[in-house]
Symmetry: C2
Subunit: 108 residues, 2 copies
DNA sequence: AATATTGTTCGTAATTTTACGAACTCAAAA
DNA sequence: TTTTGAGTTCGTAAAATTACGAACAATATT
């Protein structure tokens, strides 16, 4: 079965979805989305987990492309990655919009 | 740190996202979304993985509430779970819509 | 130069995920 | 009643995820 693989879109949206697939990472994303940017410490304060774990989650979000971080003095500032946020937004929107139940307008 | 947990919304969207966090499951969802319903065999044909694995992925999608399956003679028919699809659609839409970069309309 | 402060990285353990073949179930057909 | 067809479940192995404390960087402050 070498032939049938997944489409790039499927891989891409799965990648975003996987990054969003943990409540801590959703909390981080929501927190960042509401204020655009903030420091590691602010994020850590919001979460019930150790800083090492927060750092790990941030790394995954960064690798998925949903956020970005830059060093600022002794602190690190994290922000939403706007380009990719837009792409993700589109992918999910298209994905949910494609269901037959939307086309048949049976869901409202 | 017993106090700070995650919100139900965060748990909920993370649950959906996690289910969508694998290309095979995205492929299944897209396939189902396009035709509303179909049999296990049709899904299996679309994917480059063993039937046991397909079955496992279907189980996870079912447990996340995104699809539902019902036995029909010797076959099993799988469909999108429309109620939850709608809920997921809303959750993701609200989530991506909340970013400051949307409110500032800097993304278009 | 010594010392905080702020995060990251390392090492590690426990759990979950992913994947497969083999064995199994269960209804329908022969 | 045996057999076939369609899927699920089981057992299992390899890999990835999640979480933590301890150790480590790197910059500011004293």
């Amino acid at each position: 079965m070498e032939s049938k693989k997944y489409t790039l879109e499927q891989e891409q949206i799965a990648r975003f979805a996987k990054a969003m697939g943990h409540p801590a990472r959703m909390a981080i994303l929501e927190f960042l989305a509401r204020q655009d940017c903030c420091f590691f410490g602010d994020i850590h304060e919001e979460l019930p987990i150790a800083k090492a774990t927060v750092s790990q989650h941030l790394k995954e979000l960064k690798e998925a492309g949903l956020i970005q971080g830059e060093i600022e003095a002794p602190k690190v500032k994290y922000c939403i990655n706007r380009e990719n946020w837009k792409i993700a937004s589109m992918l999910f929107s298209n994905f949910f919009g494609q269901c037959v139940c939307k086309r048949e307008s049976c869901c409202e």
